[in-house]
């Protein structure tokens, strides 16, 4: 891939300046986008739910998140008397920092990223799964049964969904022939969602579970567990969890946009704008799902991962492998239609075979 900008760029100051600038850019981007995401989701949910949503602070309520942030900062910071204090303090940081670290390898446009790792996507999967430890720490240290149940559920769920998530990525990696996110984007003359419809579906569902979004939001499950793992948190420590939750959604949207929707590529508009449009589009899909479907029960979630997503992800990987090895020079369009047909058939067949439900235990 010779058409990429050399990294790090040949700026005065070189290497370290590049790092400094991009760390600031990423911090600002994440914090600002999260604030916008919160407003965007609340306004969007408002429209879905036949109401207006926040509209008091600033035009269209755009400063609602800012007002919330100010409120959260001035709140009393409570630590449970019988909680594990050090772990309680550490948990929000452990949950938030890995999410921030993922952005190091996400290309905003060609060459505009902190570090173009040649194992980029592997790094994303590895780092993003650390934040679940923070959630478990929070649940454990709160000394609250609701928190603990929420945290236990999360660990079980996130660990299970890592597998279909990783397998869905392999399809993309096989086609592009690289683990680097920049090269994956560069390989997408046609967005990979067309080559990998099944992979996209699996990745979307698995990442919804990874970021604990509806319908897999059992870790919070406000109608069951009050607030799940952050029941005991208040003030900025809660704020950090909240931030981490939306930052995770941002990561998921960005990764989906990068892997399947062609990242910054699109033409006419500036590349960064294309990237943002795709990120916001994916996030719209995420909260659309949230406002529509009920929550799945935890054992059904686990069944869904192991009995539905995992076999489909394996089959998808297998088929993609065959196509890449046997038909490397095939025209794109026949392959696209074949893959789409395979995806539809597999999903229909599997949904006939696989049933949720049941779950009563004799006691």
């Amino acid at each position: 891939m010779s058409n990429l900008a050399p990294l790090p760029p040949d700026w005065p100051g070189g290497y370290w300046l590049h790092w400094g600038v991009f760390v600031i850019i990423i911090l600002a981007f994440v914090l600002l986008t999260v604030l916008i995401f919160i407003w965007y989701e609340r306004r969007g949910l408002g429209r879905f739910q036949a109401r207006v949503g926040p509209n008091r602070a600033g035009p269209f309520g755009i400063f609602q998140s800012v007002a919330d942030a100010v409120k959260i900062l001035t709140k009393e910071d409570i630590v449970p008397a019988k909680g594990d204090k050090i772990v309680f303090w550490l948990a929000p940081v452990v949950a938030f920092v890995p999410v921030l670290m993922v952005f190091a390898v996400i290309p905003f446009q060609s060459g505009a990223l902190l570090a173009d790792l040649n194992v980029g996507i592997l790094y994303v999967v590895a780092v993003s799964s650390v934040s679940v430890i923070g959630i478990f720490m929070a649940g454990w240290s709160s000394n609250n049964k609701y928190s603990l149940i929420g945290a236990m559920r999360t660990v079980a769920q996130v660990v299970s969904y890592e597998i279909p998530l990783g397998l869905a990525i392999i399809g993309v990696v096989l086609i592009s022939g690289s683990l680097s996110l920049t090269e994956i984007v560069a390989a997408q003359n046609i967005p990979f969602i067309l080559f990998q419809p099944l992979g996209f579906l699996i990745f979307l569902l698995a990442s919804l579970a990874e970021i604990n979004r509806a319908p897999f939001d059992v870790m919070e499950a406000d109608s069951e567990l009050v607030a799940g793992f952050h029941t005991e948190y208040s003030g900025m420590k809660f704020g950090l969890f909240f931030l981490a939750e939306y930052a995770e959604a941002l990561v998921a949207s960005a990764i989906i946009a990068t892997l399947f929707l062609g990242g910054w590529r699109g033409g006419v508009l500036p590349p960064v704008l294309w990237f943002l449009i795709k990120v916001f589009g994916v996030f719209f899909l995420i909260f659309w799902i949230r406002s529509t479907v009920p929550r799945v029960r935890i054992d059904q979630i686990m069944g869904f991962a192991w009995k539905f997503l995992l076999p489909l992800a394996l089959i998808n990987m297998f088929i993609t492998g065959i196509e890449v090895v046997l038909l490397p020079e095939a025209l794109p369009w026949p392959i696209i239609f074949v893959n789409l047909a395979i995806a539809v058939i597999l999903v229909v067949v599997w949904s006939k075979l696989f049933k949720l439900g049941g779950g009563r235990v004799e006691v």
Binding site: V226, R297, G357
Partner: protein
């Protein structure tokens, strides 16, 4: 190898987002599975039954508003019917029709909340209940027209209703009734066939026919178990024998059936209101009743099919101006007795939706 686990006790409530009021469930969990459950209530006890013995028959009507505060009209109706039975006062025909219209509107309002809250408990993030509340608002507007109130209406009187309907009421009601079936269909389509909802509620929290009868359950909980029992048909009161309507029943007795029964009942309520509007006669709306009512010595039990089940008022008179005994048969309390049997063995997440599918109102349980 079987992993040895240890059950632990968790208090769900009294302040919990899904307990529909101040209700507490002392739950023993083994992991996610509920192995034991002990309902604890009484946090909202206001001693209404005792207070009512110190007040006149008319003064007691506002108390009934505060029982099931999501169905004040139905409570009013059951109480004034019991007093009328006790004192032998017939209500004018127009008043009876107005009572039926109000009671059915109230059933719609209550079921909208019940269905919305049930779907919310299932985890459908606020969307269904907000749509349902939009329609309930229209019903509250109608009630505000006739009674001036939006929650505690205090509209029924002994021997009739407090006042005749204003002239803008009937056109507004007609508009509402014409729109409502479409809305019910629309909201039904939102989630009725949703795979996740089916997986969550089908076969969950089964209450068998025998069990339902044994605990004297009533209303949608009883009908969801497949018992065709509705006071409006079984023991017709007011003018219900003049209308055509069906009694929807379920078959499995699970959460999904109870949800379906409520949705179908809403359709039937609209049907009843339509017929009542067409038949509505002219005339007085209030019989002449002495201000200080002294019913003869005796007892009376007035019962109606309230949105949540059979609501009965048992009154004993000693010929004074206040009832000697004032007992309320609250459907929420009766239906709640099935809670433990339905929940044990299911998971924590199921507990919430089984509890939600009973549709209780704590004002009525604790009184």
């Amino acid at each position: 190898m079987v992993i040895k686990t240890e059950p632990f006790v968790i208090n769900i409530g009294p302040a919990h987002p899904s307990t529909h009021g101040v209700f507490r469930m002392r739950t023993t969990l083994d992991g996610e599975v509920v192995v034991d459950l002990e309902p604890v209530f009484g946090y909202l006890h206001r001693g209404i039954e005792k207070l009512a013995e110190e007040r006149t028959y008319t003064q007691n009507i506002p108390f009934t508003d505060r029982l099931d505060y999501l169905a004040s009209m139905s409570n009013n109706l059951a109480y004034v019917m019991a007093v009328e039975k006790l004192a032998g006062i017939p209500a004018p025909e127009r008043a009876e029709y107005l009572r039926v219209i109000m009671a059915e509107l109230q059933r719609l309002a209550s079921h909208l909340i019940a269905v919305g809250a049930f779907l919310n408990d299932c985890g459908a993030f606020m969307t269904p209940i907000l749509y349902m509340l939009r329609e309930r608002e229209k019903i509250l507007d109608l009630f505000e027209m006739v009674s001036g109130q939006r929650l505690t209406y205090n509209y029924m009187r002994i021997g009739g209703v407090s006042q005749d309907i204003p002239k803008e009421f009937l056109p507004a009601l007609r508009k509402f009734v014409e729109g409502m079936p479409g809305f019910i269909d629309e909201y039904d389509q939102l989630l009725a066939e949703n795979e996740i909802l089916l997986a969550r509620s089908k076969g969950v929290g089964i209450l068998s026919k025998e069990q339902a009868i044994n605990i004297s359950a009533a209303g949608p909980v009883l009908r969801g178990s497949g018992v065709k029992w509705d006071i409006r048909k079984a023991d017709p009161y007011s003018v219900y024998d003049r209308f055509e309507f069906e009694i929807p029943t379920g078959s499995a007795g699970d959460c999904y059936d109870r949800y379906r029964v409520r949705v179908e009942e809403m359709r039937q309520s609209v049907r009843i209101i339509k017929q009542a509007m067409e038949q509505l006669p002219l005339g007085e709306v209030r019989a002449l009743v002495p201000q200080r009512l002294h019913p003869p010595v005796g007892e009376a039990y007035g019962r109606i099919e309230a949105p949540k089940g059979e609501l009965g008022f048992y009154l004993v008179s000693d010929n004074s101006i206040a009832p000697y005994r004032f007992h309320i048969r609250a459907p929420s309390l009766m239906n709640l007795t099935a809670l433990r049997d339905m929940i044990v063995g299911w998971k924590l997440a199921d507990l919430i939706i089984i509890f939600g599918s009973i549709d209780i109102c704590m004002g009525e349980v604790d009184r």
